[in-house]
Structure formats: structure tokens, C-alpha cells
């Protein structure tokens, strides 16, 4: 793993059109010009936090090459991942591996669970011969606190949710990819197994130097993992920085409201103020998208917020937020500036 590997997203956009949506007149913009970079050196856990429908899962599918975005590019070491051929495609698949959300859907019910391991071993040539392959699998089982006897030779419906998700982790451990794209892997697990899962995720970074993009809607999980945190809302990255900064000293009004709504597991720290959330029904939001999308609900809304989309402004070193409270540059100006220098 000598020279650093990098996945770079530039202005990635995904709009859904057609079918029912054309009946609603227009399209749904799921991801709206998102740019960020994941680097394998230094290996780091980046959590992408957002509500359901904010586009975070769509970004995961785009990075994994499962869905071609309608705009912008995703490059791996400079080359567009949707135009990779031959060796480049192989290395990309080898270095970027997923961990999915639904433990019940990740196994093909027709085959035994072992196939999850033998397919990549054959495809990526991890081990020649059955014996060496088996040793590789047992080694990975140790790392995720699973006994091979409980799992190997069984069918998916014979395993519990927790066991299944740990099998996925064992698979990732065996492959040792440079990047793990984990799409809400813990949201369907109980507290006890969830913590164990997160600890293994931390080990992957410390021991094996794997960089993880961890997608979740749960702020406490993001905080527990540390590393870097990005907050996404309605398809746009609104805030980005070290986990401690973003979660304990949130800059963007949206993040502040999000943090305030997380219930404290402490009876003495109950909420005292009441919140009034104006509920938009599902009908079309007609206003144009070239503005700050949080303007309707933002306590500090200004004239400029309605005019143009804010760029990412510096709040403190390594902590940026897309809000005019911290600067005046609009998204367009900053993008042109970025292109020139």
C-alpha cells in the first residue's frame, strides 16, 4: 500500500425522473453537486450523517459503481470509475468493498453462507487451494469474534441478524480493501452487538489501515467512531470537520437543530424547551434550488440565504459549513475560484 489511493467526488449529482415522478411535474434531486475526497493515507473513518431521504445511500451506491450519477464525476486515482477497463477495473473492485444495511438481504438464500467467502477468494485470487483459503476464512472469523463452527456450512436463514452482519465484516477483513463503504450497517442491530460492530470498525482502521466511509442517521454512532464527520441534508453537504468539532460545536443551524434533537440517555438531562416543527406534506416544493435549502426553518435566515446557494465557509481550522453566517461566497463563485487555482 505504498502510494496513497484516492476516491474523489467532483460535483456529483443524481436526479430521478420519469414514471410517477414526471406526474409530480419535474424531477427529484437526490444528490445536488456533492464534492469530497476519501484518501487511504492516512487511513481515517469518515462518517456521513443525514436524515432518511438526504441522499446519503445514493452517494454510497454511486461510489460503489452500482449507480451512474446524472452529473459530475467519481474518480479513483484520477480515472473515472465508470470508464475503468481491465486491470484498472479489477484494482478498483479489489480496493473498494461494501458493507450493506439489511443483514437479511445480503445472502442469496439459495446458497450456504460459505459462498460469501469463496466467491471473492476465486474472483480476486486471494488464496490458491482449499486449505489456504480455509485458513484465511478462519483468521477473519477470529477478528469478528465468530466461531466458524457456528456459521460455516449453514444457510442464511439459520443465522441471527448480528451473526450475519459479522459475517459481512469477516468478508471485508479477509479482502482487506483500501476503502470500506458502509451504508447504515448498524441501524438494524441491537445496542450490544452494535457496539461490538463499531469496535471492529475501529480495529480495521488502527490495525489494517482501512479507510471507511460510514453512513448513518445516528449522531451518537458518528461521535463514537470519531475521525471526520460530514452532515448531509436534502442532497447537499452542509457541514464538515473533525467529529468532536461538528458534533459538540456544530456550526450550521441544521446541524445544531439535529444535535439538539438527540435524546440524552440521562434522566437528569431532559429537554426543557419545546420545539415546533412545521411539517411539509409530500407535495412539490416549488421554490428554485439555487438557495440555502434550510432557509424555511432557519432561525438566523438572512436575505442572502434565499438568493444563492452558500459555499463551504471556514469556521475554524479543518471545520467548514455551508452557511452565510461564516462568509459571503456563493457556491458558484467558490467553484469557479477552485477551478482557476
Amino acid at each position: 500500500m505504498n502510494q496513497p489511493k484516492e476516491i474523489a467526488l467532483r460535483d456529483v449529482t443524481q436526479t430521478f425522473r420519469g414514471g410517477a415522478l414526471s406526474a409530480i411535474g419535474g424531477e427529484l434531486v437526490a444528490v445536488d453537486r456533492v464534492s469530497f475526497t476519501l484518501s487511504s493515507d492516512p487511513s481515517r473513518i469518515t462518517s456521513l450523517v443525514g436524515e432518511s431521504g438526504s441522499g446519503k445511500s445514493t452517494i454510497a451506491r454511486i461510489i460503489l459503481g452500482l449507480q451512474r450519477p446524472t452529473g459530475g464525476t467519481v474518480t479513483y486515482n484520477g480515472k473515472d470509475i465508470f470508464c475503468l477497463e481491465g486491470r484498472d477495473y479489477d484494482t478498483y473492485r479489489r480496493d473498494v468493498q461494501p458493507v450493506f444495511q439489511d443483514p437479511y438481504g445480503i445472502f442469496n438464500p439459495f446458497y450456504r453462507v460459505d459462498r460469501i467467502f469463496w466467491r471473492p477468494i476465486e474472483k480476486f485470487g486471494l488464496a490458491t487451494g482449499k486449505a489456504r483459503g480455509l485458513r484465511l476464512i478462519e483468521e477473519s472469523f477470529e477478528a469478528v469474534d465468530l466461531r466458524p463452527a457456528d456459521v460455516l456450512g449453514r444457510y442464511p436463514h439459520q443465522l441471527s441478524g448480528g451473526q450475519r452482519q459479522r459475517v459481512m465484516l469477516a468478508r471485508v477483513h479477509m479482502l482487506r480493501p483500501a476503502f470500506i463503504i458502509a451504508d447504515e450497517p448498524v441501524s438494524m442491530l441491537d445496542a450490544a452487538i452494535r457496539v461490538m460492530f463499531l469496535n471492529v470498525q475501529l480495529d480495521f482502521r488502527e490495525k489494517y489501515g482501512m479507510t471507511t466511509l460510514f453512513i448513518t442517521h445516528d449522531l451518537s454512532t458518528a461521535y463514537y467512531l470519531g475521525g471526520e464527520t460530514m452532515v448531509i441534508s436534502q442532497g447537499r453537504i452542509v457541514e464538515r470537520g473533525r467529529a468532536e468539532d461538528v458534533i459538540t460545536r456544530p456550526a450550521h443551524p441544521y446541524t445544531q437543530q439535529l444535535i439538539a434533537s438527540v435524546p440524552e440517555p440521562d434522566p437528569d438531562a431532559r429537554w426543557t424547551d419545546r420545539i415546533e416543527v412545521s411539517e411539509q406534506t409530500a407535495e412539490v416544493k416549488s421554490a428554485s434550488r439555487d438557495r440555502c435549502l434550510f432557509a424555511e426553518r432557519c432561525p438566523h435566515v438572512k436575505e442572502r440565504c434565499w438568493k444563492t446557494r452558500p459555499a463551504m465557509m471556514d469556521v475554524r481550522t479543518g471545520h467548514v459549513a455551508a452557511c452565510y453566517l461564516y462568509g459571503a461566497a456563493s457556491h458558484e463563485e467558490s467553484r469557479d475560484a477552485a477551478v482557476t487555482h
Partner: protein, 287 residues
């Protein structure tokens, strides 16, 4: 659901498959049965035996107007009906699989085009066209009859397979297969097809049955394309010769019972498969 597990949990599937297997067995060994009855001479020859014999030891189903043994005729008729049915069923299922998989897997414009085309064929009433075809194209071979029947039975297979593929395609294990660098073809044959085997099997049975039903329909109104003896022709003879009024019930009852049992068998398999394969149905059934 593993095939073995599927087999054990559904009694309906077992009974249905049992009946079907029995009929296929009888059809395969029909020359032996015919020889056994004929004891040397061909029981299907005109004038082989006295006409309108009632069922007896030598002739379990009696004889028809020209003294031909009915059991031998039923068995031979079964063989040709099944032959045409299975051939048409295979053609129809093959086209259905190709169309269903392309539409379901590709999605987007290809899917909407193929779906509309399938609906087009579904709406066209197939029997009048088949009748026209058989009226104009006299004495055609079994192969051509099977092809004719296929034209209008492939949409049914295509529709069910497309629905299946659409529901399976969005499962996470398909995305995982892509992450394992598996190509589209590998995904279809290694991930999708195994899960759909029960549906493909029953789909084939349905398509074949539909073809037999259409062919028998043609023959009952005397417009059967080919001259070979088969169950439909026997019913036609029974009706035109008024065998019921002559009290020679076997000529009518034998083919009708065989065909009804065939329908029952396929139906049982359909219901059995649906009950064990549809997770929501199973949840309610407590499995």
C-alpha cells in the same frame, strides 16, 4: 428456500408433481401398453375389434365406432398431446425467459418497450388466429403446431418472470455480486436463476398446459390442424358420433378425465409453490 425444503413443506406440490409424473410415465411407455393390449395385432387398426364394446377384462375402456381399443387410443393420444404441449411450453418458456430477464434486468426504456409488447400479445385473442391458421394450413407437422401455439402463450411466461426478476434484482446480494466483480451473465445464471427455478419449472408446466388446452379446443370444434390421434380428437369424435347417447361413455370420459387430472396437477403445483414461496403467505401460515 432450498428445493429439498420446498418439497418437504408443501403437500400440494408433491401431489401435483406425482400426478404429472405418472402421466409422463404412461406416455413414455405407451408403445408397450399398446402391444400388451393388442397381443400381436395393432389395437388401433380399424376393425381390430367389434365396435362399441363395453369395458371388459380385455378392453378396460371398451372400443369405439371403428372397433379400436380406447385404452390404447387414450394412451397414444396422451403421448401426442403431451408431446405438442411440452414442445410449445418449452418454446414459450424460452422466449418468456429471454424477454422476462432482459426486461426485468435491464430496466428503463428496454423494460417499458418489452412490457408494452407483452401486453399487446396478451390482449390479442389467440384462439381465432389459431383457428384461422389451422384452417388455412392443412396437415402440418407437430413441430409447426407447437410453434403456432407458442406465438400466443409466451407472454404469460414473460410477465411472471419479469415480475420475479424485478423483485429479485433490487436485493442487496445482487449489489454484493457486482462488488465481487461478477459480470451480468454470471449474476443472472448464478444469483437469479437458482432462486427462480421453482417458478421456471411451474411456468413451463403452465405454458405447456395452456398449449394443450388451446390445441384441444381447436380439435373439439373439428378444426384441429394435424390428423394425429390425440385427446382433443377423441372428444371431437365423442361429440360428433353422439357416443353419450349410445351409452359408450368411455370415449368421452377417458380423455376428459385425463385432461382434468392434468389441469388439477399443474394447479396444485401452482398453489403449493405460491404458498411456500411467498414469504408473506408463509408468515401467516406459521411456518
Amino acid at each position: 428456500m432450498r428445493l429439498a425444503a420446498l418439497w418437504r413443506t408443501s403437500a400440494k406440490l408433491q401431489v401435483g408433481f406425482g400426478i404429472l409424473a405418472f402421466f409422463f410415465l404412461v406416455a413414455f411407455v405407451h408403445p408397450l401398453i399398446v402391444d400388451l393390449i393388442g397381443r400381436g395385432k395393432n389395437p388401433l387398426e380399424i376393425g381390430a375389434y367389434p365396435a362399441w364394446l363395453m369395458p371388459s377384462g380385455a378392453h378396460p375402456l371398451g372400443t369405439d365406432r371403428y372397433g379400436r381399443d380406447l385404452l390404447a387410443m387414450t394412451v397414444t393420444g396422451l403421448w401426442s398431446s403431451l408431446q405438442v404441449g411440452v414442445m410449445a411450453g418449452l418454446f414459450a418458456t424460452f422466449i418468456g425467459v429471454v424477454v422476462g430477464f432482459t426486461a426485468g434486468f435491464k430496466g428503463g426504456k428496454v423494460d417499458s418497450f418489452l412490457a408494452t409488447t407483452t401486453d399487446m400479445f396478451l390482449v390479442v385473442p389467440s384462439l381465432p388466429l389459431l383457428i384461422t391458421l389451422s384452417a388455412y394450413a392443412r396437415n402440418v407437422s407437430l413441430w409447426q403446431v407447437a410453434l403456432m401455439l407458442t406465438i400466443f402463450s409466451w407472454p404469460f411466461a414473460a410477465r411472471t418472470i419479469r415480475a420475479q426478476v424485478l423483485s429479485l434484482r433490487s436485493r442487496p446480494y445482487i449489489d454484493l455480486a457486482r462488488a465481487n466483480k461478477m459480470t451480468d451473465m454470471e449474476i443472472i445464471f448464478q444469483e437469479l436463476v437458482p432462486n427462480m427455478l421453482p417458478y421456471l419449472g411451474v411456468g413451463l408446466a403452465n405454458a405447456s398446459l395452456g398449449a394443450i388446452f388451446a390445441l384441444v379446443g381447436l380439435e373439439v370444434i373439428g378444426l384441429g390442424p394435424s390428423g394425429a390421434i390425440d385427446l382433443g380428437l377423441m372428444i371431437n369424435w365423442a361429440v360428433t358420433w353422439g357416443s353419450m347417447s349410445l351409452g359408450a361413455w368411455p370415449l368421452f370420459v377417458a380423455p376428459v378425465t385425463v385432461l382434468s387430472l392434468l389441469f388439477l396437477a399443474v394447479n396444485l403445483m401452482n398453489v403449493g409453490l405460491e404458498e411456500t414461496y411467498n414469504p408473506r403467505l408463509r408468515r401467516v401460515a406459521g411456518a
